[in-house]
C-alpha cells in the first residue's frame, strides 16, 4: 500500500480502537470505580467525559501506529482488521450507551 493509503488505514484503525477504548473505559468506570453521588459533589477537577475521551484518543493514537505498520505490510490484513474493528466498535458503543450510559 502507498504511504498516504497506509497512513489513512492506520488512522481509521486507530479511530475504531478509540471508540472501543471509550466504551470499555465507561464500562469499567461504571462497574469497578463507582462514581460519588453527584449531589454531594460541589466541584470536580475534570469533566469525566472529556477525560475518558482524552484517554480513548490517546489509546487510539497508539493503535494507529500499529494499524499503519499493518497496512504498509499487508493491505488485505489491514482491510480485514478494519472491518472487524469497525463492527466491534459499533456494537461496543451501542451496548455501552444502552446498558451503561
Amino acid at each position: 500500500m502507498k504511504r498516504p493509503g497506509a497512513l489513512l488505514a492506520g488512522a481509521a484503525l486507530g479511530a475504531a480502537v478509540a471508540v472501543i477504548a471509550y466504551a470499555l473505559e465507561r464500562v469499567v468506570e461504571r462497574t469497578v470505580f463507582l462514581e460519588p453521588n453527584p449531589a454531594m459533589l460541589i466541584w470536580a477537577d475534570h469533566d469525566p467525559f472529556a477525560w475518558r475521551a482524552a484517554i480513548a484518543i490517546y489509546l487510539g493514537g497508539a493503535a494507529a501506529f500499529g494499524g499503519h505498520a499493518l497496512a504498509a505490510q499487508s493491505p488485505a490484513a489491514a482491510a480485514r482488521a478494519l472491518t472487524a474493528l469497525t463492527a466491534v466498535a459499533l456494537v461496543a458503543i451501542v451496548v455501552q450507551g444502552a446498558l451503561l450510559p
Binding site: 477537577d45 475534570h46 477525560w51 482524552a54 484517554i55 490517546y58 493514537g61 497508539a62 501506529f65 499503519h68 505498520a69
Partner: protein, 310 residues
C-alpha cells in the same frame, strides 16, 4: 463546694507534675466527690481514668517512665535509655511497660540513630500482651515505617503476621508492599534476561555488518521511534493536563518501549521468519513492555499503582 473541687483539681495537677501519681489520683477522686458539676471535673475524670489505667506496680513504673518522657535531654541520652530499657524488664505487665518499650524504641530510632536496637524494642512493644491495643498497634506501625525505610518489607510482613488482628489495615498495606517488591524483582529479572539477549543479538549484528553505521538504522525504524515518542510524550502531556500529574512514568515507558522495539528488531534479524521464533520474540517483547511499565510507575510515582489495587 465549687471552689473546693477546683482546689482538689489543682492539687491533683501539682501532684501529677511532681510524679506523685497516687496522690494525684486521690486528689482527682476527691474533686469529683466534692462537686461533680464543677468546671474542672471533666478534666479530673479523664486524668483519673488515665491514672487508673497506668497504676500497675503502685505507680512506680509510671513515675520511672515519666521521668524520662518529660525530659527531652534524658529521652535523647543513651545511658538513660539503656537504663530505662533494663528497668522496664522488671515492670509488671500493663500499659506502662508497653509505653516504655515504645519510648525506648523511638529514642533508639530518632535520637540515638540505632535502628537495630529500635527494631527489637518495637517488636517487643508490639508483642507485649499486657499493653493496650492502641500502643501495640502504634508500635507495629512505627516498626513498619522503620522497616520500609530500610527496605525490609518481608521482615515487616513477618512482624505484622505475628498478630494479624492487631492492625488489619496495616497487614493489607504490608502485603501490598511485599507484592510490589516481588513484582519489582520479577520485572528486573525479565529486563535483565531481555537485555542480555538483546546485547547478544546486537553483538551478532555488529559482527556481521559490513558497515557498523548501518546497524542503528537496521534496528531502529522511524515508525518505532515515532511510536515510542508518542507513547511517552502524549502520555506525559495527558497526565500533566489532568491536574498536573507526574508525567515521568510515561517518559520512562516511551524510552523503555523504544529499547524493547530495537531489541525485538535485532532478535527478528537473528532468528529469521520462523513462526515459533517470531512468537517467542513477540512474547518476550510483551513481557519486557509490561516489566518496563511496572518499573516506570513504581520507581517514579507508585501512587498510580494504588488505582489498580497494588
Amino acid at each position: 463546694m465549687r471552689a473546693a473541687a477546683a482546689a482538689r483539681c489543682a492539687e491533683g495537677e501539682a501532684a501529677a507534675k511532681g510524679l506523685r501519681f497516687a496522690e494525684a489520683l486521690a486528689a482527682y477522686r476527691a474533686a469529683i466527690a466534692t462537686d461533680p458539676s464543677a468546671a474542672c471535673v471533666s478534666m479530673a475524670r479523664a486524668r483519673m481514668q488515665d491514672l487508673e489505667a497506668h497504676a500497675e506496680g503502685g505507680f512506680a513504673p509510671l513515675a520511672r517512665l515519666e521521668a524520662v518522657r518529660r525530659d527531652p535531654k534524658k529521652a535523647a541520652d543513651l545511658a538513660e535509655i539503656e537504663a530505662l530499657a533494663r528497668d522496664l524488664e522488671g515492670f509488671p505487665p500493663g500499659r506502662v511497660r508497653a509505653e516504655a518499650r515504645l519510648l525506648v524504641a523511638e529514642a533508639y530510632w530518632h535520637a540515638l540513630k540505632e535502628p537495630e536496637r529500635s527494631i527489637a524494642a518495637f517488636e517487643a512493644a508490639a508483642q507485649d500482651q499486657g499493653g493496650d491495643k492502641v500502643t501495640r498497634a502504634l508500635a507495629l506501625a512505627e516498626l513498619w515505617s522503620l522497616r520500609k525505610q530500610r527496605g525490609e518489607v518481608r521482615e515487616a510482613l513477618a512482624d505484622v503476621e505475628r498478630d494479624p488482628t492487631l492492625a488489619p489495615a496495616l497487614l493489607v498495606l504490608v502485603k501490598k508492599a511485599v507484592l510490589r517488591e516481588q513484582l519489582r524483582e520479577g520485572a528486573i529479572a525479565v529486563l535483565a534476561v531481555l537485555a542480555a539477549a538483546g546485547a547478544a543479538a546486537m553483538a551478532r549484528l555488529l559482527a556481521r555488518a559490513r558497515d557498523v553505521r548501518e546497524v542503528p538504522g537496521l534496528v531502529l525504524r522511524p515508525g518505532a521511534a515515532a511510536f515510542a515518542l508518542y507513547l511517552g510524550g502524549a502520555g506525559a502531556a495527558l497526565v500533566r493536563a489532568h491536574g498536573g500529574g507526574d508525567g515521568r512514568p510515561f517518559l520512562w515507558l516511551g524510552l523503555g518501549v523504544l529499547a524493547i522495539l530495537a531489541m525485538g528488531r535485532a532478535w527478528g534479524l537473528w532468528l529469521g521468519t520462523r513462526r515459533a521464533a517470531r512468537a517467542l520474540c513477540a512474547a518476550a517483547c510483551v513481557a519486557g513492555v509490561l516489566a518496563i511499565a511496572f518499573l516506570a510507575v513504581e520507581r517514579t510515582d507508585a501512587s498510580y499503582l494504588e488505582g489498580i489495587g497494588l
